[in-house]
């Protein structure tokens, strides 16, 4: 599943610089708002669904080399976080939907590996 399809289907808003989302493949996903659980469980290259929006999510995603973070419930990261994400090459996507809905949609799209 490429990231562009995910963005279109879930009507996500990219918060970071535009990128060639079509060429980014996502097969795995993870969800948690506890950063240590993410550290322990999020697979390499996966998409992470969370309602956390502070700067440390970028550090976590960069260390784990995740494909993208979907920030749920319309939580808005501050500009410094978005800048940091651009620097680290981490894609931030926003949705007004809750995490439960978001993960459900990802599952329907076939992203069921974790």
């Amino acid at each position: 599943m490429n990231l562009q399809t995910i963005i279109n289907t879930l009507e996500l808003t990219p918060l970071t610089n535009p990128a060639d989302f079509e060429s980014i493949q996502v097969e795995k996903g993870y969800t948690s708002d506890l950063l240590s659980c993410v550290m322990a469980g999020a697979p390499h290259g996966s998409v992470w669904v969370t309602l956390q929006a502070h700067g440390n999510i970028v550090a976590v995603a960069a260390l784990l080399e995740l494909s993208a973070i979907i920030i749920t419930e319309g939580a808005m990261p501050d500009p410094a976080t978005i800048t940091k994400a651009n620097e680290e090459g981490i894609i931030l996507l926003s949705t007004p939907q809750p995490s439960y809905w978001t993960v459900g949609k990802l599952w329907e799209l076939g992203i069921q590996e974790n």
Partner: protein, 332 residues
């Protein structure tokens, strides 16, 4: 490009990194850095016949038209075709040139040029200076070449860094050689949380560590770094000693100390405040993660004095760091 449909191709981490870097470069590089300066130009006194011959001889698909040094139009192959259909080759270029000019400034970013190419379907744009004078021309090809060149240069710089670092121990003779990295971590400095671990991870990769080793070290050090930020009163220090076959990480602080070390090591146990838990920290999994990612770990603490965490990661013989050729990157 091998012609395979893109969506069926699994792209590697390296490629993904390059793609996003390419996007970033479009926001960093300016038109003047990739445009063709002093392009071939026509003057209003020239005929279409002369222009046609020139375009063919110069193997270009269009050129700006100047009148007394001022940009007045652009003549492209499409205009020539219209003229050839007539045929009307003895007319001046002014009769067929496009005068509805879309220009771009030399100081604009490549991303602006890309947007213009997409929105206008034009193949080339005249580049002007702040006074509106023509200073160059930019084509889609110039943008692609400019971006690829910049990307290649960056890759070369990183390769050179890796090459140098990966041999750092090679020519040094001693009974035991090591490299020590030190990072001072401030208490409650959430803004910089994760920056020491990211830097250490990058350093390990440059020294020739495998992606798996670098990832394990990165996760363990991130947790230790966040512990210093969340729990200490005066911050602390991360000291990483890198030897060819092991990474020894020493994390110490000056208080407040852990009352019950055994409890602290239990999964799910945390003393983090409600406020910090709301940020997603304090899951009580930090030390558990550290233990999982490392080969040895010891935790000593004295209440009122401080805490000392010592962890080690051992590298297999064939994955030694700093002693020669970088191991082939294994895709995960």
């Amino acid at each position: 490009m091998d012609g395979a449909p893109r969506q069926n191709r699994v792209i590697s981490d390296q490629e993904a990194e390059n793609i996003s870097r390419l996007e970033e470069l479009a926001y960093e590089i300016r038109v003047e850095q990739v445009m063709t300066s002093n392009p071939y130009v026509f003057t209003t006194s020239q005929t279409m016949r002369e222009a046609t011959v020139t375009l063919r001889q110069m193997r270009i698909s269009g050129a700006p038209v100047l009148h007394n040094g001022d940009l007045v139009g652009i003549l492209s192959i499409e205009d020539v075709i219209r003229c050839l259909i007539e045929p009307d080759l003895d007319s001046p270029v002014t009769k067929y040139m496009t005068t509805k000019l879309i220009t771009i400034r030399a100081t604009d970013l490549l991303v602006d040029a890309l947007k213009m190419f997409v929105n206008t379907k034009l193949g080339r744009l005249p580049v002007i200076d702040p006074n509106g004078k023509l200073v160059g021309i930019i084509t889609k090809g110039d943008v692609t070449r400019g971006l690829l060149k910049a990307l290649q240069q960056e890759t070369q710089v990183e390769e050179m860094r890796r090459y140098r670092a990966s041999r750092i121990f090679e020519d040094i003779e001693s009974d035991r050689t090591s490299l020590i990295l030190r990072y001072d971590i401030q208490a409650h400095d959430f803004t910089h949380g994760g920056s020491a671990s990211s830097r250490i991870k990058r350093a390990l990769i440059r020294l020739g560590a495998s992606p798996q080793i670098a990832r394990r070290a990165g996760i363990a050090i991130y947790e230790a770094e966040m512990n210093l930020i969340i729990h200490t009163t005066k911050g602390g220090v991360i000291r990483v000693e890198i030897e060819p076959h092991q990474i020894s990480i020493d994390v110490y602080d000056y208080g407040p100390g852990i009352a019950d070390v055994q409890k602290a090591l239990q999964p799910g146990y945390s003393t983090a405040s409600e406020e910090i838990r709301e940020l997603g920290f304090g899951a009580g999994m930090g030390l558990v993660n550290i233990a999982r990612c490392t080969d040895s770990m010891s935790l000593d603490s004295v209440v009122g004095k401080g805490t000392r965490l010592r962890i080690k990661i051992f590298l297999p013989q064939q994955e030694a760091m700093g002693e020669g050729p970088v191991p082939k990157e294994t895709a995960q």
